[in-house]
Symmetry: C2
Subunit: 334 residues, 2 copies
């Protein structure tokens, strides 16, 4: 099964008037600090608070009548589950979602509010996919995975497609890599628009499964990552996105946890926007490894905003303290 930019264009048509065409945020002050033009794609302002709605809606919308009658199921760290719950409600079917027992309450509450059925599992001891497959089989549900699915990748690709329409002269797009669906969609869309437009994936240092897999030339397994970026705690790249990423991505950069919290603080102080940790990972590459990036305007995908307040507050406190302690870091203007 080959996925092409045509799938992304079809997804863009399907999402027209359904998904939010999220804005590109700018900050002259932040541009001054990093010495280049930065454009943030605010997918934290997407329906259900993350880019995941695009793929979920596209995938459920591509099911046939009989599949939709039986219902859909998906496993997720939380954002895909919310997205699937809303997509199912909008397309008149029923969603069952399998999420970790330690998912942030913000995500769990929102899923419940959207009327989906929730099954929780233990992230360390249980196999999420096994639960999804067994439940799907016994109840006849269509599986909509969070990344490893043609329509989900195509839907995620509409993020970058909108970015290049709104900012035609981007030199590089920074995108977080979890399961790889967003990164795969991004490279497809970017390459179709302009083969010279670079896409650089970003992973937390401890969740570097794609970084290591690219170096190994095949998908390798890593231990369950301990990163604050709960949406990117994947232990192995998904097969379909990995094939696409492998052939089209320019590079993958890994970022330490400190750069992620700094990035969350910049989003708050300079852009007045609230990102969850995973949503701040791509911007962290600009803080942590600016010399690894090509010259020119940078597009950054802020993938989501569903954080718990207690966690968010703690992380921004840490960032503000880092700023006080370390005068050599790029200052967080308050």
């Amino acid at each position: 099964m080959t996925i092409t930019s045509q799938d992304v264009l079809r997804a863009a048509q399907k999402l027209q008037g359904v998904a939010v065409r999220t804005p590109l945020l700018t900050s002259a002050a932040f541009d001054g600090l990093v010495g280049r033009q930065v454009l943030l794609k605010a997918e934290n302002q997407q329906l259900t608070g993350s880019f995941k709605f695009r793929g979920a809606y596209n995938a459920v919308g591509n099911l046939n009548e009989s599949q939709r009658h039986r219902g859909v199921i998906g496993g997720s760290s939380g954002n895909h589950a919310q997205a699937l719950a809303l997509a199912a409600r909008q397309l008149h079917t029923k969603a069952t979602v399998v999420i970790p027992g330690d998912a942030p309450a913000a995500k769990t509450d929102a899923i419940k509010a959207l009327g989906a059925r929730i099954i929780t599992y233990d992230r360390i001891r249980e196999q999420r996919d096994a639960i999804v497959y067994e439940t799907a089989h016994s109840k006849g549900l269509a599986i909509i995975p969070s990344s490893n699915h043609r329509s989900v990748i195509a839907g995620a690709g509409t993020v970058a497609w909108e970015m290049v329409q709104d900012a035609p002269r981007l030199a590089v797009i920074l995108v977080p890599i979890g399961g790889g669906g967003l990164a795969a969609g991004t490279v497809l869309a970017a390459h179709a628009y302009n083969p010279r437009l670079k896409v650089i994936g970003v992973e937390p240092v401890t969740a570097n499964d794609t970084h290591r897999s690219l170096r190994a030339g095949r998908a390798v397994l890593i231990p369950p990552p301990a990163t604050i970026a709960d949406g990117l705690r994947h232990t192995r790249p998904e097969s379909l996105p990995f094939e696409i990423i492998k052939s089209l991505i320019s590079d993958v950069i890994t970022v330490p946890e400190g750069a992620i919290v700094d990035s969350m603080a910049y989003l708050w102080s300079h852009y007045h926007t609230a990102a969850e940790p995973s949503g701040a990972v791509a911007l962290a590459a600009l803080l942590h490894a600016p010399r690894s990036l090509p010259d020119g305007p940078v597009g950054v995908v802020v993938s989501g905003g569903n954080a718990d307040w207690a966690e968010y507050r703690t992380l921004l406190d840490i960032a503000m303290e880092r700023k006080e302690r370390n005068a050599h870091a790029i200052p967080v203007l308050r």
Copy 2:
């Protein structure tokens, strides 16, 4: 001097390609909670983090060559000062700003970074306007007030003008009232678009100078207000905006401090956007006095986002605690 909607249209032309055309944010979950469609005009994403840039740029842009050569001066709680500093820099003149000694560091730091000269004053014991007039006179500077100025009001009116273009079927616009420039521009733009479109001003209970003045039929003086909404601590409506507001506004609603912090928390949790207290005041009316509003879609101006982290965190903590304690309040979904 009569200000009309033509001034707003001319300001919109001048700001085209200069100011950010800020998005209208939506949240299906929040709409469900309040039982109506809500559209937030995210002026916290405007250049310098507040709507003030529109009026400042329009006013500096309307000066003649010789005035711009000598420079501009303005007094402000902080946001107008930042706006004036950036507008002056973009239009190749020099800004001097007079701000309270207790203005949030976020605002003071940003003004310095934009290269403006800062004069601080004591909000209780000193008269800001006297300092502005004396400095302007001795140095030959053009005064650009934060509200009481034709071009500033016209620039502020472009906020509502964009709202009605992007959401033609709004039934009511909620707008915060400080000096009254934003509210005056809003009623002008709204009335020109559709005389039946209502505009309701919102003030903190303790900063109710316009509310009381409208009831008295003339501008009355109140004691220095103690509200957390530092941008709205005005003690008397400005003359020019007040005349416009008096003739065209539908109503003014006052909101308690608790509703303002709840509103900040909803903006964070449901819209993933960060507002300063003044920027959350209009939304607070929807929480505090929903029955005072006409039926139909509500447009809400989120006027700015320049908060200090320490203050922001404290206020959101209070809001989250209020939610835990009070099950009868509209719940803050986390």
